[in-house]
Subunit: 167 residues, 2 copies
């Protein structure tokens, strides 16, 4: 049976929640990673993925600049990177310069991949839609990559940015 | 280290994947549930959620008709309902008539809730955006509900519609 609840309480049933790191370059070429929980696949053929980014976040500037972005599925070993990239702004710092995280060049877009992620998806920007305090960016997946050493994907497993594997 | 991969291979790293049941009424008032893996929160204030629905699916007709939809988080006990609602078309049958699944009236929108779900979110349609072979529907959450008996949320835990709890 259901009982009416505040949204903020009801949404706590969402865990484990997927987490991705989206990466896009700003006008100076700086690759800026951001941690996002709000993401989904949106099309099968052609393959497309979407992310919702806070409208005020620097990543919106970067994605609009470069018209492309990487979506990386971090591995369970990357919790510290996930927390770092999700708690700093690329307006103030160069996140990849301040946090040791291996990257390699993307193949089809002007961005980077996370070498230790479980998988990386290179996305060409297709559309953006404002939704409340966030912007939904949809990208076509133009190239995909997996880790040569399979690992488990990282999730947010509970409130307060509690990270871990799930499954 | 990353190696280039087919998208269809790389995306297999997505599991466990969240699953929701979205419900909207058609023009005859029939409530039509559909199982979706492609969903995300898109705004914090105001609270908004999005779903990606195959363009050709009957649910797109229902959502456009009623301008609202429920998002239910099924419990781990609802795997059969999830598989049934995800494998039939509301064009052909009345899914709630053919599969025994307790429902109750929504409060703020003209839809129903799943009584045994972990949580239900009543959404008023805000926008739709075509993305490849799917349509992204964004809704404002106008009312939320949780189960009076807390349970675990259901996930797709592997390829081939393998369902289970996660976390």
């Amino acid at each position: 049976m259901q009982k009416k609840s505040e949204y903020t309480e009801a949404i706590k049933t969402k865990y484990p929640e997927q987490v991705v790191i989206a990466i896009a370059r700003d006008e100076n070429g700086k690759a800026n990673p951001v941690t996002l929980g709000w993401t989904m696949i949106v099309s099968g053929k052609p393959a497309m993925m979407a992310i919702a980014v806070a409208a005020k976040h620097y990543s919106t500037v970067c994605i609009r600049n470069s018209k492309c972005f990487t979506i990386a599925f971090p591995s369970e070993k990357q919790a510290e990177a996930v927390l770092f990239f999700g708690s700093r702004s690329g307006r103030d710092i160069d996140k990849f310069a301040q946090f040791d995280c291996a990257t390699e060049s993307a193949v089809e877009i002007n961005s980077v991949l996370l070498s230790d992620a479980v998988a990386n998806f290179e996305c060409a920007l297709e559309s953006e839609t404002v939704a409340g305090d966030h912007v939904i960016f949809v990208g076509s997946v133009v190239c995909a990559h997996v880790n040569t050493e399979p690992g488990k994907r990282l999730y947010t497993v509970g409130p307060g940015h509690k990270m871990g594997a799930a499954g």
